[in-house]
Amino acid sequence: MSEHISSVKLYVGIWLALLLCTGLTVFASFQDLGPFNAVAALAIATFKASLVVLFFMHVKYASEKMTKLTIVTAIFFFLILITLSLADYLTRLWT
């Protein structure tokens, strides 16, 4: 079995990066970025989630393509749910 074992250094690095991003998202929320406050919050959250998925959940080193396919499929269907629902609700006031 070709098992990938990440170094402790990498895990500590990811851990510190996640803590740093938490501080960054709190800092960003107190700045007036206009409509970009929500964008910044979601972008930082997605970056943090990606770090967790790729390194803590070992998806970067997964030998099975099935794992990646499952994740991409799940996200794809979640985005369909969000996009189609908001395409309705966000345009109801349009004339």
């Binding site: 996640l18 803590f56 979640f78 966000l90």
Partner: protein, 235 residues
């Protein structure tokens, strides 16, 4: 079974953790991992419905959501985010300890994870208690959110809209907390098994998959934190 077949089976199944219906340990591990990811995919759908409801109501009642968000304790919320990130780190280290075959280290890192999980739940309990005392729980007869909508000092908070915010807050953080409780139970079992030497570098699938569950619950919180605590903080 003919004796020749049995002999072959005995030859290939020298790993005691390998079940008879799998050809190899690798195939068994891949099957378990695939099953776990499928389960997590259903979890994304489960939380996805609530995230979708949240987005729609946040769009409709943005001002009231902003006013309600400011009543959450941002200090405790930030600390809890850090606590969960630390617990994800200890989980990753527990899995690594299993890969390198360090029995005591597995148990220690799993125990640390449980402690951090309980700290998270304790802080969450303190926050919930404050919400009950402030009459910010939807359905309370004396529910009341004081103040006005950010940027509109003459526009008082719509109480029905504020109740919607807190309904989503309690539903989503509550479901997340339930997942944490299940995770703590799961990890208590894993710690017991790890201490008894059940896991080795050739078999640690339960720790790997338990870890995947814990990381997933962490990711949900990574999104819940900015969505509930950090609306309109700059106003």
């Amino acid at each position: 079974m003919p004796s020749s077949e049995a002999a072959v089976a005995n030859q290939t199944h020298d790993n005691p953790a390998l079940l008879h219906h799998f050809a190899s340990a690798e195939q068994q591990k891949n099957a378990a991992s695939f099953g776990m990811w499928l389960f997590l995919a259903t979890e994304i759908m489960f939380f996805g419905g609530m995230f979708c409801a949240y987005l729609i109501y946040r769009y409709w009642y943005f001002g009231d959501f902003g006013a309600a968000s400011k009543t959450l304790d941002i200090r405790l919320g930030t600390i809890n985010t850090a606590v969960l990130i630390c617990s994800s780190f200890t989980v990753a280290m527990a899995v690594r300890s299993a890969q390198t075959g360090k029995r005591k280290a597995i148990a220690v890192f799993l125990l640390l994870t449980i402690v951090l999980g309980l700290v998270f739940l304790g802080i969450k309990g303190v926050e919930y208690k404050a919400k009950f005392e402030e009459h910010h729980v939807p359905g309370q007869a004396d529910f009341h959110l004081a103040g006005s909508v950010p940027l509109h000092p003459d526009l008082p908070v719509n109480q029905a809209h504020a109740q919607m915010y807190f309904s989503l807050y309690f539903a989503m953080t509550g479901m997340h907390a339930l997942h944490m409780v299940i995770g703590v139970g799961l990890f208590s079992f894993l710690t017991y098994e790890a201490w008894n030497g059940r896991y080795s570098p050739s078999y640690y699938t339960p720790i790997e998959n338990g870890g995947l569950y814990w990381h997933f619950v962490d990711i949900i919180w990574i999104y819940l934190f900015p969505l509930f605590y950090l609306i309109e903080r700059h106003r």
